[in-house]
Amino acid sequence: MFMRKSDFFFFFIAVNVCALLLFFLHAVVIQGNSETLLGENSEMVKRLRLTDLCLFTDARYTRHPAMTDLNTPFQDHPSALEHFPSGTLAGPPPHLRSQ
C-alpha cells in the first residue's frame, strides 16, 4: 500500500491528528448534549443546597472539602497525623489557608 516509508509515517501522523480532531469534536458534541444533565444536577444542588462534589467518601473533610476545618484531619487522637489517601489529593480549601 505504501510506496515509501515516509508515506507510512505521514499516514500514521495524519490518522493520529484526525483522531485528536475527532476527539475535540466529540468533546464539543457531548458538552452540548450534557447541558441538560448539568442543568439537572445544578437544580439538585440548588434544591438540596449542596456545597460539594461527592468525590472522596473515606474521610469527612474530603467528602465536603469546602465545609471543613483545618483541624479536622488531625482530630482522631492527640498528635494524630493525616492518614487518609484522599487527604493527599484534596488539600485544605484556600479560604482556610488565607485566614
Binding site: 458538552q31 445544578s42 444542588v45 474521610a59 467528602r63 489529593l89 479560604h95
Partner: protein, 377 residues
C-alpha cells in the same frame, strides 16, 4: 529535486536508520508515550472535573454560615437564622441539617441530609445510587441505622436519586428532620449550618462582613470560596498533581539528557559515513531533526489519543484506585469531555520541542568534525 522530495528522502533515510535500532527506539517511543499519556490523562481529567464542579456548584448557597467553638465547627442555634434574615440584602436564610453517618456493617460513610420543604413520611429515606449499590438496597427495603444512644431504627427506602446525579448525590441519605435528630442526636433548636441567598450577588462581601460583625462566633463561607476549593484541588500547580507532573518532567529530563549528552559510537560512525559520501552538515542536522520529530511527535500524538480514551471512555480506569483511596462507597460517573487547547499546546512544548532540540545539538557537534576523525573514533 524539489524541496519536498528532498525532505521525503531524508525522512525515508531517517526511518530506515531508526528501524536499524528497532528495539531501542521502540522502547523509547513506549516510555515517551507513557510519560505523555500520564500527563495528558491528568490534564484531561482535572480540566473536566473543574468544569463540572464550576457549572454544577454555581447553584450552591451564596453564603454558608458555620458556628465555630474553640476553633471547631459546631452546631448553630435556630435563632441565628432570624438574625441573618434581618440583614439588608439577604433574600433568604435557611438552616441546613446534615451530618455524616458511618455504617460499620459495610464500612462506608454516608451523608445524612434533611431536604427543605415537605418530605415523604416519617421512617422513610431517599438514597443516592452509591448507597444503594453499597447496601444492595432496593425500593421498599429496610435499612437499619444505629442512633447516637446505641439503639437501632430501621428506615424504609422510598426512592433513589438518579444515577446521572451521582457526582453530587452518590452518598446521600435524605430523611425527615425527626429521623435525622433521632439518629444523630442533634437537639431541637439547633442546625448544622445556615445557607444564605443574597438579592444581589455583588453585595455578598458586604453581607458576609455584616454577618461577621453581628455573629462574631460564626464563619461565613462564600460561594466563591466553594468554587475556589475545587479550582485548588484540581489545580496542576498544587498537591499531588504537581508531584505527578514533576515526576513525569524529571523522567523526561533524564530521557532528553541522555539524548543530549552524546551520540553512540554507531551514530557517530553513521554521521561520519554520511559526511564522507557527500552529505552536508545541514543535511545531517535535518536528518537528526526528523529523527527527534518522528519519535517525539508519534509519542505525543499516541499519548494524547490514549489519554483521551482512558479518561473519557473508560472513566479514568487506571486512576480509580488513587481516587477511591479507602472509600468503600465511590460514585460511578462519566466525565463530560472538556479539552483546553492551551493545555495540549503546553504539553506539546514541554515534550516535543525539548526532545527534538536535544537530538539536534550533539548531532551538530558530531557533524562539524572531520568525517575521517569521526569514523576512526
Amino acid at each position: 529535486m524539489s524541496r519536498l522530495n528532498r525532505q521525503r528522502n531524508i525522512i525515508d533515510f531517517t526511518l530506515s536508520s531508526l528501524l536499524r535500532r528497532k528495539r531501542k527506539n521502540t522502547a523509547l517511543v513506549l516510555v515517551y508515550t507513557l510519560v505523555v499519556f500520564g500527563l495528558a490523562s491528568v490534564f484531561f481529567s482535572t480540566q473536566a472535573l473543574k468544569r463540572e464542579a464550576c457549572s454544577v456548584l454555581q447553584k450552591s448557597p451564596d453564603i454558608v454560615i458555620q458556628r465555630l467553638v474553640a476553633g471547631r465547627h459546631d452546631l448553630i442555634a435556630e435563632s441565628y437564622v432570624n438574625k441573618v434574615k434581618d440583614i439588608r440584602g439577604v433574600q433568604s436564610a435557611q438552616g441546613r441539617l446534615w451530618g455524616y453517618y458511618y455504617d460499620p456493617t459495610v464500612g462506608a460513610n454516608y451523608t445524612l441530609m434533611v431536604p427543605d420543604g415537605p418530605f415523604r413520611g416519617e421512617g422513610t429515606i431517599v438514597i443516592g445510587k452509591g448507597v444503594a449499590r453499597t447496601l444492595h438496597a432496593q425500593k421498599g427495603d429496610l435499612v437499619p441505622f444505629r442512633t447516637y444512644d446505641g439503639s437501632f431504627i430501621s428506615l424504609e427506602v422510598d426512592d433513589m436519586l438518579s444515577a446521572q446525579s451521582e457526582l453530587v448525590t452518590a452518598d446521600l441519605v435524605l430523611l425527615t428532620e425527626n429521623d435525622f435528630r433521632q439518629i444523630t442526636g442533634v437537639p431541637r433548636g439547633f442546625l448544622t449550618d445556615v445557607g444564605v441567598t443574597a438579592k444581589n450577588p455583588r453585595e455578598l462581601a458586604t453581607i458576609a462582613e455584616k454577618i461577621r460583625r453581628l455573629l462574631p462566633d460564626t464563619r461565613p463561607i462564600m460561594k466563591d470560596d466553594i468554587l475556589r476549593t475545587y479550582e485548588t484541588i484540581f489545580d496542576w500547580r498544587g498537591g499531588v498533581l504537581l508531584v505527578i507532573l514533576a515526576g513525569s518532567i524529571f523522567a523526561f529530563v533524564i530521557l532528553a539528557w541522555d539524548k543530549a549528552s552524546g551520540l553512540s559510537s554507531e551514530e557517530r560512525k553513521e554521521i561520519g559515513i554520511l559526511k564522507g559520501i557527500g552529505w552536508e552538515t545541514s543535511d545531517v542536522i535535518v536528518m537528526k531533526f526528523w529523527e527527534g520529530a518522528v519519535i517525539s511527535l508519534s509519542s505525543f500524538l499516541l499519548g494524547c489519543v490514549f489519554a483521551y480514551i482512558h479518561v473519557f471512555f473508560t472513566s479514568s480506569a487506571l486512576f480509580e484506585p488513587v481516587l477511591k483511596g479507602w472509600s468503600v462507597l465511590y460514585p460511578q460517573f462519566r466525565l463530560t469531555p472538556s479539552i483546553d487547547p492551551l493545555q495540549i499546546a503546553t504539553l506539546f512544548f514541554l515534550t516535543v520541542i525539548p526532545y527534538t532540540v536535544a537530538t539536534i545539538i550533539p548531532s551538530w557537534r558530531a557533524a562539524t568534525i572531520d568525517p575521517d576523525a569521526v569514523m576512526r573514533l
